[in-house]
Amino acid sequence: MDCKKVAELLPAYIDQELGVGELMGIDEHLQNCPDCRREHAAQRDLGAQIKARASYFTAPPHLEARLRASLPKSNAAAPRRWTMQWRAPWLHTGIAMACALVAAWSLGLYVMQPSAQERLAEEIVSDHVRSLQVDHLSDVASTDQHTVKPWFNGKLDFAPPVVDLATQGFPLVGGRLDYLDGHAVAALVYHVRQHPINLYVWPASSHDVASTQTRNGYHLMHWTAQGMNFWAISDCAASDVERFAQGLRVAVNEPT
């Protein structure tokens, strides 16, 4: 690689945005070219100066409050003006009945505490969202099941089944370690038409009937097979999640 090419690629080299080939080319050039080495150090230090010393302005607390207040509140009905006169005698009976209803309803809420299964589903939704937010979908990025599966060796005390479903439209894109329901779990990442699917796998202590549900716009599917818990979640169409689960069950039962 010549100096001109190196100069052009230096910013991407510093920001670790290059592929392995170009990276090695520049490494080699820098070892032999003092001029480019100086240029590299100067650029790198400038970036570091900004990172270390320029202010990061965090939003003032009142701004978040103002935003939340200005966004439509969908779970609270619009407040209605109470224009009726208190004089109407039947109203007292009405209010008493309303109070009784509220009491019965809140008792109902109390009885309907979320089950362990529901809490787990909620945990999975948050984990899925978090994995997308922090741009941390995969620790091992590979479309090769024979790369992803061994990656879990020594990181988990079980061997998750890893299969690629590219032929069915669900290419494997990677995997990562995650923590759910008090266990370290394997999270496998698949794609379907640009939508990520997170598949969580860990050993099951009981056999659960397959179930589907929708939460916050995400479709979840849960089943157990071969002594493992499987939870799949995605924002793609519910039918896609079901197709994905179906394909996976077949593939896991008949490993290639």
Partner: protein, 178 residues
């Protein structure tokens, strides 16, 4: 019910990026007050058009709206009130880099390092300032910056390279003044 889902999804995917949004808006407007206005307007827009967001990177999507909001409503008025546009004729690149690196290094030893870095960054032309802020302060990848601004990745790279050099020049210049 669908509305409830929309609010909750919005809270989960867009609201967490408030600090990123504010930081970018603050560096674009260079004023706390204007930054708050830009962010608030951007969030209202984001909520209104949230149906158009089909998963993916909530932060990139929000930052693009923040940036558009700024460019549509705020930039023109700002240009008139305080133009500190970088004059490339006065500060030619060669001129700067000649004594730039050395002077910049010395100047940075001083106690008011941070103030000087901030001042230099504030004085940068906006198209370089925004890529530097997203890259160095918010750790966005080239791909993400390209998506926010709507330019090719190669342009992101060249603006960063150019931006860092301009920054060095401004820092050296400020150092001499101080």
């Amino acid at each position: 019910m669908t509305d409830l889902t929309k609010s909750q999804r919005f809270e989960a995917t867009v609201l967490p990026h408030l600090n990123s949004a504010f930081n970018l808006a603050r560096w674009l407007t260079r004023s706390d007050h204007d930054a708050e206005d830009v962010v608030q307007e951007a969030y209202l827009k984001a909520f209104k058009y949230f149906e158009r967001f089909h998963g993916g990177d909530g932060r990139t999507w929000l930052l693009a709206i923040v940036r558009n909001t700024f460019y549509t409503h705020y930039r023109q008025s700002q240009e008139h009130s305080r133009s500190e546009q970088f004059d490339e004729d006065c500060h030619s690149m060669e001129d700067i880099s000649a004594h730039g690196a050395k002077t910049a290094e010395n100047a940075l030893q001083r106690r008011d390092d941070e103030r000087m870095v901030n001042r230099a960054l504030e004085k940068m032309p906006i198209e370089f300032r925004e890529v530097l802020v997203m890259r160095e302060l918010d750790d966005l990848s080239y791909r993400q910056i390209a998506d926010v601004i709507g330019i090719p990745i190669g342009t992101v790279m060249s603006r960063l390279a150019r931006g860092r050099k301009l920054f060095a020049g401004l820092l050296a210049h400020n150092g001499q003044e101080a």
